[in-house]
């Protein structure tokens, strides 16, 4: 984490004096617009920073591939047997991979004090954290959704199942990233928080697992998967409205 | 009496269940009282050391 990184970070989002929403409101401009635009800036910044460390980006995906491989090796190489568990395996692996990337969600910014700057900046912390969570999904969840059909087919799923697998994992990982952001916020100040983060986040993610695996299973079986997919989307929307609030509450408590 | 203990053949399930539950009840009583006792001791200790802590 060199100095150039820190400079790159701060310049993007730390507002100059006349740009703070307080100053703007004094000048008669609305404060609401700045929440969305700062969120967009945060998203761009997180994505840019993540791409500077490409090796770290690949890790959750490599983990996903390895975990998926464990099952043919440990259980049975027979495709017919694997197909019956393919949905569950893909989802368990996706959950664990998403957890892996979660630790880094706020950690870097918390460590060098940038997170505190965001909380104090007068901009909406909720929106900023939502943007960070969106970045987490784009960097982890979406690639997982694109990799999942490969894993599925390696476990015996037919090619016709590909759109269904992508759709269910893509929507599900949105919910996973959101729920995970709550856990990341809660464990922010804790050293070696990996196990506790998993213990907190996984039970909360169980409904996503249930509906997601159901949708994926139906897709693999060639049946209509619309209903569980819609329930999955409902969970994602619920997460979208509640999770950034809970996460920002947790972060603020941490920074007190 | 032995018919009672036998629980119609289900003794191996009924009695451990009751044992576990009563153990949990007893554990909770002991636990709670120990917590209170420890807190009182700590609070008294803080008083005798005197004044406020940092």
């Amino acid at each position: 984490m060199g100095d150039s990184d820190a400079i790159g970070r701060d310049a993007a989002v730390t507002p100059r004096a006349h740009e703070t929403s307080a100053a703007r409101t004094r000048n008669g401009e609305g404060g609401g617009v700045s929440a969305l635009s700062s969120a967009r800036l945060m998203l761009a910044r997180d994505l840019k920073l993540a791409f500077r460390k490409r090796s770290q980006l690949v890790q959750p995906l490599a983990f996903f591939a390895i975990v998926t491989t464990l099952f043919p090796l440990g259980v049975s190489p027979e495709l017919s047997r694997l197909r019956s568990m393919a949905a569950g395996v893909v989802w368990a692996a996706a959950l664990l991979s998403s957890l892996l990337a979660l630790e880094l969600l706020f950690r870097d910014d918390a460590q060098d004090g940038t997170l505190e700057q965001y909380a104090l900046s007068g901009r909406s912390l909720t929106w900023l954290l939502a943007a960070k969570t969106a970045a987490h999904w784009l960097l982890t969840g979406l690639p997982l959704a694109l990799m999942a059909p490969l894993a599925g087919m390696a476990l015996g799923a037919p090619a016709a199942a590909v759109p269904g697998i992508i759709a269910s994992v893509a929507v599900g990982t949105v919910a996973l990233s959101l729920i995970g952001s709550i856990g990341a916020g809660l464990t922010l100040g804790i050293r070696r928080s990996g196990a506790l983060l998993s213990l907190l986040t996984l039970p909360l993610e169980i409904p996503v697992l249930i509906f997601g695996a159901r949708a994926t299973e139906l897709a693999i079986g060639g049946a209509a998967y619309g209903v569980p997919l819609q329930l999955l989307a409902a969970l994602a929307v619920l997460g979208l409205t509640l999770a950034p609030l809970a996460a920002s509450a947790a972060v603020r408590i941490n920074l007190e | 009496m032995s018919a009672f203990l036998d629980m119609g053949g289900y003794a191996a399930y009924v009695w451990p269940s009751y044992a576990v539950t009563l153990a949990v009840i007893a554990l909770n009583i002991v636990w709670a009282r120990r917590l209170l006792k420890r807190s009182r001791k700590e609070a008294l200790r803080r008083l005798t050391i005197g004044g406020t802590e940092a």
Binding site: P203, I206, L231 | Y10, V14, T21, S39, R40
Partner: protein
């Protein structure tokens, strides 16, 4: 004027005193009800026509399961009050609930498993109730784990309060999603106790146990809250008076 009782409730010395005085009023009736319920359930109630004497596990299983949910709801409400109104006493209540709830969830799982073994032929089933009960246990452990990870009591209080509130949203979701999921696979055999309605001789001990356990929870809370409140006060002057034997 209406708020004075609320503010008094929030005052640690008041709580310490009142809780101490109230405890026997809950503890002894609880003990009496539980003993009466045990006698009623084990001795007086007739055997079930389907499950014989095996059904008597209900007299410890149902109250334990009831406790696991009651305690979690209390914990979540107390946590929310503590967060919103910044009441130390509310946080003390939430902290007190967790070990009680976790231990009774454990009891519910074990007794449920022992009940299921002869009736279902298996010690464990991934049916909706068992699965969501197991997840409730994980939620309790997560809550207690999060608390213990912080040295500062105030931060531990508020962080775990956020978790408790988030968790309570999750509990009905888990429960219904698991029902939904399970109904698509196959319907597990549901426990039936004799005919549709329980006769009074079976029902009364059950109600006594449920009420007895609830009062027991109240008594436990009173004792624990006193301890928690003490540990949250620094060298406050009221402590010296309160602790004179």
């Amino acid at each position: 004027m209406a708020w004075t009782w609320f503010h008094r409730l929030a005052s640690p010395p008041h709580i310490y005193r009142v809780a101490g005085r109230l405890t026997p009023w809950l503890a002894w009736p609880a003990a009496a009800l539980i003993v009466a319920g045990l006698i009623g359930g084990l001795v007086l109630a007739p055997p079930d026509y389907q499950q014989g004497d095996g059904y008597r596990i209900i007299y410890v299983h149902a109250p334990s399961a009831w406790m696991s949910l009651l305690v979690y709801s209390t914990m979540a409400v107390a946590a929310a009050i503590g967060l919103i109104w910044r009441m130390k006493v509310a946080h003390a209540v939430a902290a007190s609930c967790a070990p009680i709830g976790a231990s009774f969830t454990f009891a519910a799982l074990v007794t449920g498993s022992l009940w299921g073994a002869p009736m279902w032929g298996t010690y464990w089933q991934w049916d909706p109730r068992l699965t969501s009960e197991l997840l409730l246990l994980f939620l309790y452990f997560g809550y207690m784990g999060l608390r213990s990870a912080f040295d500062d009591v105030q931060r531990a209080d508020r962080m775990s309060a956020v978790l408790a509130v988030v968790g309570v949203v999750n509990v009905p979701i888990i429960h219904y999603s698991v029902i939904w999921w399970n109904s698509l696979h196959q319907a597990p055999s549901v426990m039936r106790l004799g005919e549709p309605t329980m006769p009074a001789s079976m029902l009364v001990p059950l109600l006594m146990m449920l009420l007895g356990f609830t009062l027991f929870f109240g008594a436990l809370l009173l004792v624990r809250v006193r301890g928690e409140v003490l540990s949250r006060e620094r060298a406050a002057s009221w402590i010296r008076e309160a602790l004179q034997p």
